[in-house]
Symmetry: C2
Subunit: 133 residues, 2 copies
């Protein structure tokens, strides 16, 4: 489908993720990359986010708000801690999966390809704000 051709748009988007370590939604990527390429279209951003994810340069995750967010794929296997207050997303390096899970999947004859784990709650800052009220 996508044949890794290097365009200034694609490079600019990828560089953005090399500088930022945050999770970014397509619209945010568009805003940020516009500083460098004012004429880049949102459609192009979507196509490149998809292409870069396909070739493993980005990692795409769909969150409960139904919006996809992307992050640089430089990291190891990891999971997410999502703040219900400020919507900030922090990576978790510890994978919580106990070995029994493999047995269960084997028993079901389910061939696992990947998994995801996300904890939702309140980060330190939002916790304090909550308690002040």
């Amino acid at each position: 489908m996508y044949n890794h051709r290097s365009t200034k748009q694609r490079r600019a988007i990828l560089e953005l993720f090399n500088r930022q370590e945050k999770h970014l939604a397509a619209e945010e990527v568009h805003q940020l990359v516009r500083f460098q390429l004012p004429k880049i279209s949102l459609g192009t951003v979507y196509r490149n986010l998809e292409a870069l994810s396909e070739q493993g340069d980005l990692q795409k995750t769909v969150f409960p708000d139904g919006k996809a967010r992307f992050e640089g794929a430089k990291h190891e296997h990891h999971h997410h801690m999502v703040c219900l207050g400020c919507s900030n997303i922090v990576d978790i390096s510890l994978c919580p999966v106990r070995p029994e899970m493999k047995d269960l999947l084997n028993a079901e004859e389910f061939e696992a390809v990947y998994h995801r784990f996300e904890v939702f709650g309140y980060c330190r800052d939002c916790r304090e704000k909550k308690n002040r009220n």
Copy 2:
């Protein structure tokens, strides 16, 4: 927000989930409940799915395709096994979270409210189909 009023539409939707144990998207619920209430609108379905989730009668999950799906909330805490072939979703009763995860969250001073875990891969049937090709 929603004050648990009992209408025939709301009852019909809830009954649907008592008969079916599958995960259903809003559009599917609409199609199915129409057999019983032909004039029910999609908007009403959405509003009731939301209301029923709020009051704990249904459980809503947003999947990587960006679509929300619902299931009856009769079950205990559980997770999901999602087939990449047939899109079927099966519940996993085993929660994989190791105790170390709690320590990590404490260290981060993150107050966990809930978490989710999903394994994506191929169910027995789709595995066979794959291997035949």
